[in-house]
């Protein structure tokens, strides 16, 4: 408080005292300096502009799980189908093993995020179709088991030639990985879309698509980083995923709903825009360049892969962080238009 302001307040107190002793009452309202209590609750300012919704209480492990799970699910599909459709035995085996490792890491990340990790099995007490969290837990458990089965089949194959157990495990494991890899690689979009957070439910249709394609791109990128940079099929898949991400990014920029503000402004906006760039136009350019380059093809593919992975990570962290910002918006849940945004300290 400045000296002038405090002397003003002291003078005002003297004035009140004089008035009280002279007339027995004080007619005017008391001191109400700017910033003093008694702001207003009103249909324009809501309840003191306090946000109604609670912020997500997930730890930073959850967006990381979204990344690992998305990649793992897509790797499961690639690993189960690639060698059946072409000469890709080595690539498919790598994909299967990475899918198995990914599903194990996913479980660890999810359990570590729980408030009571020792009770993680409570997730499997019930099956609840209307809870995306329940479906996700079952899908993760099932996928992990099938991925482990197909990896076990690979190990058995190396030990024994034509083992019937290996054949059984391979068939069951691959079928399961393909079927469950589909929901596993994109259900997290459903998980956050079907909540009370205004930003997420505004994009409930696009989030599963975007997260799914981001998972596919991460899978392709991870395989390229473990040496599969000569596969044209992977490059084509990478191009498809990056083209889709570009389209989703443009769609987001074109849409001007106020719910989407956290994806365009501030740190979360920067993160999501960066994610769009790194998983859309940049890998497209690098992948196309790798098709026409006479040398350094491998380097270009690796650069595209790194860009895609960082982009996918930014995408997951960006959307979760933007949801937290969205939860703090007091106007949207109360249906208060932005035009009615009046000063809290209104005299």
């Amino acid at each position: 408080m400045s000296e002038a302001e405090s002397s003003f307040r002291e003078n005002r107190l003297d004035e009140i005292r004089r008035e009280a002793s002279q007339f027995g009452t004080v007619q005017q309202p008391g001191i109400r300096a700017a910033g003093s209590p008694l702001p207003k609750a009103s249909p324009q300012t809501g309840y003191y502009q306090q946000h109604l919704l609670k912020e997500p209480q997930w730890t930073p492990l959850v967006p990381l799980y979204f990344f690992v799970g998305g990649a793992s699910g897509s790797l499961g599909v690639i690993g189960s189908l690639a060698d059946l459709l072409g000469d890709n035995d080595e690539l498919a085996r790598k994909a299967r093993h990475m899918a198995t490792a990914g599903s194990a890491i996913s479980s660890v990340l999810l359990i570590a995020d729980l408030g009571r990790p020792s009770r993680f099995l409570n997730m499997l007490r019930i099956f609840k179709p209307q809870s995306a969290m329940s479906i996700g837990s079952w899908v993760l458990s099932g996928f992990s088991a099938f991925a482990a089965a197909s990896t076990l089949a690979d190990i058995l194959d190396r030990q024994v030639d034509g083992s019937p157990i290996a054949t059984f495990l391979r068939t069951v494991g691959r079928t399961g990985c393909t079927v469950l890899g589909m929901p596993f690689h994109n259900y997290t979009g459903v998980l956050i879309g079907a909540t009370a957070i205004p930003l997420w439910n505004n994009r409930v249709r696009s989030l599963p698509r975007e997260f799914g394609m981001s998972g596919l791109q991460s899978a392709v990128s991870l395989l390229e980083l473990v040496g599969e940079t000569d596969s044209n099929a992977l490059n084509a898949l990478g191009l498809v995923a990056a083209a889709f991400e570009t389209w989703e990014g443009l769609d987001l920029l074109r849409t001007h709903d106020r719910e989407l503000a956290p994806t365009k402004e501030g740190f979360t906006g920067a993160l999501i825009q960066t994610a769009g760039l790194l998983s859309g136009p940049l890998p497209i350019a690098l992948r196309v360049a790798s098709l026409f380059a006479s040398r350094r093809k491998r380097r270009l593919r690796q650069a595209a892969a790194i860009s895609g992975i960082i982009g996918s990570l930014c995408l997951r962290y960006g959307w979760v962080a933007a949801g937290t910002v969205s939860a703090r918006n007091w106007k949207i849940p109360l249906n208060i238009p932005d035009a009615a945004d009046v000063q809290l300290q209104e005299s």
Partner: protein, 273 residues
């Protein structure tokens, strides 16, 4: 008021409710204290919000009743007879115990259940702290206690109700601003009270019970004055499960497209030579 040993006369199986009447609330916070004492909830600390005399701020894991101090614009005839006065309303907020509850739908462990009194109960012995209910409540009621690891919210004093006692907050309320009873009885009582208030000239009085939305009504209704927004009550709360159909449809299309892309690319481009 009922005496210490009076039975509510309500049997398990009957749907019970709160009717919280802001026109009777004096802001004493007896409900907050009674709730904390009966349920053994920890204190919130001596934090001052700085934006009003409401220093409880919001419902949360350790706050199951929250008296809102709704300090409004200077309106002659409201909240006092002098035009110099601000309007000065109080309203004790609580879990709404929705007819279709977002938290209950979202819970993957079955910790959240519908009780024999029609209320929504979070069983702490089952909750594993996934915190999905926190972001599924359209009223921002449920919260995870980061120290404890589990989520908590109003139990509707199910333990007391089983023993024929009314919830602690309702019992402690000195003005009967918090009424407890059978849901259908209180729905009628709310209408009668509304008519009385309007006959007294409080034309802005209204009942808050969002029956027209996907929440399909609440078991903790409110009588308020003016707009619901002023009380931080959402005019159109929606249960997040209404978004599921669109979300899964989109997920299914993308998943099929992904598998299609994998099959096509490895079939056409996956062969050597």
């Amino acid at each position: 008021m009922s005496g210490a040993t009076d039975h509510t006369g309500i049997q398990p199986g009957e749907v019970t409710a709160f009717l919280t009447d802001s026109t009777l609330c004096i802001g004493c916070k007896a409900c907050e204290v009674a709730c904390k004492e009966w349920n053994g909830i920890s204190a919130d600390g001596y934090d001052f919000t700085g934006w009003s005399y409401d220093n409880t701020a919001a419902l949360g894991h350790s706050t199951w009743r929250h008296v809102k101090f709704v300090e409004g614009h200077i309106t002659p005839g409201i909240g006092g007879n002098s035009a110099q006065q601000l309007s000065w309303e109080f309203s004790s907020d609580v879990c709404k115990h929705c007819e279709v509850a977002g938290c209950l739908e979202a819970c993957p462990t079955g910790s959240l259940v519908r009780t024999e009194f029609g209320s929504v109960l979070l069983q702490p012995d089952i909750c594993n702290g996934c915190s999905y209910c926190v972001i599924s409540c359209p009223f921002g009621v449920v919260q995870k206690n980061e120290d404890d690891g589990r989520a908590f919210k109003c139990t509707f004093c199910t333990d007391r109700q089983k023993g024929g006692l009314m919830p602690a907050c309702a019992k402690a309320c000195p003005t009967e601003s918090i009424k407890f009873g059978r849901l259908d009885d209180l729905q009628v009582e709310a209408q009668v009270r509304l008519a009385t208030l309007q006959a007294r000239g409080m034309s802005d009085a209204q009942i808050y019970d969002p029956t027209e939305t996907s929440v399909k009504g609440i078991h903790a209704m409110f009588i308020i004055r003016g707009e619901a927004e002023t009380y931080n009550l959402p005019p159109k709360p929606e249960v997040p499960t209404i978004y599921l159909k669109d979300a899964w449809k989109s997920a299914a299309f993308e998943a099929v497209a992904m598998v299609g892309a994998v099959v096509a690319s490895f079939f056409f481009l996956g062969r050597k030579g």
